[in-house]
Subunit: 332 residues, 2 copies
């Protein structure tokens, strides 16, 4: 039966997109724009489930912060600075108070760090496992809401941070917790660094104003660079050819990427929570200056050209790379 | 161990209340007030879990509408008209497309009925069972946000609709699905009516403007009239003595309430999604007229007096009633 079931995107397209309100872009965007012209408010919602998005053994302080941060990358990608969160916390039947204490500590930490207020939420029993659904609200302080639709012929494609740390960090985490082998070639410290990236993503929250002011189209990378770039390209109607040498990789991922399967995992595995965006040529210098001021690394991946959403990755020799599944499938 | 764990309210008080932002009333309210003075926005979030808030066999169209409506009662109680919802939908591993189709149909129905736009959300795997976390946003069109705090000595305590249909409807639903006996004394049609009230609550959404204009304090009744009245009384600092004959009951609940255990269940069982509110004496006539115009029944339960939150229910003979557990415990 499973083979006949639609995937997440087909479900949204078929059943939920018809319900989208104005400002919700047919539910094809990472967030939605609400509010009056003089008070542009952005809302987004992402959930984590035990055993799917985090391990039962993960420290609850980090689970809480991850649950917040996966929403903050969506806001930042739309140009919005976070202001408030609401949390629905479903507790499995064997919950312990110490878990909640750690969870609240993590929340408090990130609320302080990002200047976010908690508006409320809901706690409830979720017998099958802990579930955390966070709704985040943000404001656009300068510039405009950035959907996935605005890229033009000749715009420059950029990405923040580094790619693949979350995906390969998941492998490192699995090796720590279970019988799986750790990826080879890394020191213990490097493995721990990778694992930390998986446990606690570090989205470029303070990049929001740069996106709002200088980008033409933008999205966060949560399901892998390769697949998410295809979504951006399809939404805006461009083609892009990305040379793999332009993709920013951390030292740890660079070491592992000598194995083609791990390089492929880094490009398609998800959990990056970085921002993928296009910039009109006239805005590139301003964007680079603003990014430097915000202390956020950006890398130019390619120039985009009007097209049908075709995305190609080229290896060091200029050959087209064959990636496996391009994107994390939430129901796989 | 379970005996040592705090209940939902203790968890919120101990761990999450310190994180509350301005407008969130220490997370003691049903919702929070956001936004600028000229754009008062209210946000609330309530979740339903399979096996806890709904049965696996419940039609998904009704599950969707219930998930929306349990949030709309929170908004209405604060004086806010719903404008937008976001939904995090966690699907158990054995989900079927027909379930989602029905769920989307239910959503579409209630979005149309209440003029709500869907802003987005998240679909994800929830191996242990389906979970639905809805965040609802609403606007105050007239009057003010009504917290639980504003009741004054001499205000009149009112309730909308009827009480106990959801709680006794749950008993009827259990009898339909399983080995339990149906409550005695009702016709088949009455049992079905009760069951429908459990499956699809009917909160007084259009009462929002009346609350915002005329009430002094307000909350929705989701955990049972008796317990929720104690919360309102504690928050506002009043005592109240409610004669049971003033509590509005449907014909079905009236029939069953001849059994004291079932009357107690009706007062403490939850799932009412009606509004409990206080009105200054000078506003009572205006409130009654506005309620009549909105087509919503209201009933005067008592007059409240400054106090420490003491709530008493008196039976027909004026004797103090002994209720069991006063409130639905979400972790019981």
């Amino acid at each position: 039966m499973s083979g006949e079931r639609p995937d997440e995107f087909a479900i949204i397209e078929r059943y939920f997109a018809p319900l989208a309100g104005e400002g919700a872009f047919g539910l094809r965007d990472d967030a939605a724009l609400l509010g009056k012209p003089d008070f542009p408010l952005v809302v987004t919602q992402d959930a984590l489930a035990e055993g799917i998005h985090f391990f039962s053994q993960d420290p609850s302080e980090l689970v809480a912060r991850k649950a917040v941060r996966v929403n903050l990358s969506d806001l930042a990608a739309k140009g919005a600075v976070p202001t408030a969160i609401s949390i629905a916390l479903g507790l499995s039947d064997n919950w312990e108070e110490s878990w909640i204490a750690g969870f609240a500590q993590g929340l408090a930490h990130d609320c302080r760090q990002y200047g976010i207020a908690m508006t409320g939420g809901d706690t409830f029993r979720s017998p099958g496992g802990t579930v955390i659904a966070v709704t985040a609200l943000g404001e656009i302080r300068t510039g405009e809401y950035r959907s996935r639709l605005g890229a033009d012929d000749g715009d420059c494609l950029f990405v923040t941070g580094t790619i693949g740390d979350g995906a390969l960090g998941l492998l490192a985490r699995r090796a720590t917790l279970g019988p799986e082998d750790a990826p080879e070639g890394l020191s213990q410290l490097q493995l721990e660094t990778l694992q930390s990236n998986y446990l606690l993503p570090n989205p470029p929250v303070h990049f929001a104003d740069v996106v709002a002011e200088f980008a033409s189209a933008s999205m966060d990378i949560s399901d892998g660079l390769a697949g998410d770039l295809e979504k951006l390209a399809a939404a805006s109607g461009f083609d892009a050819e990305v040379n793999i040498e332009n993709v920013p990789l951390s030292d740890e991922v660079t070491t592992l990427a000598s194995d083609p399967a791990l390089l492929s995992a880094a490009l398609t595995g998800g959990d990056d929570y970085q921002i993928l965006f296009t910039v009109p040529p006239d805005n590139v210098e301003g964007m680079r200056n603003a990014a430097a001021k915000a202390g956020i690394e950006v890398r130019n991946l390619a120039e985009v050209h009007s097209g049908s959403g075709k995305v190609t990755f080229l290896d060091k020799d200029g050959e087209v790379m064959r990636l496996g599944s391009k994107s994390w499938n939430h129901f796989a």
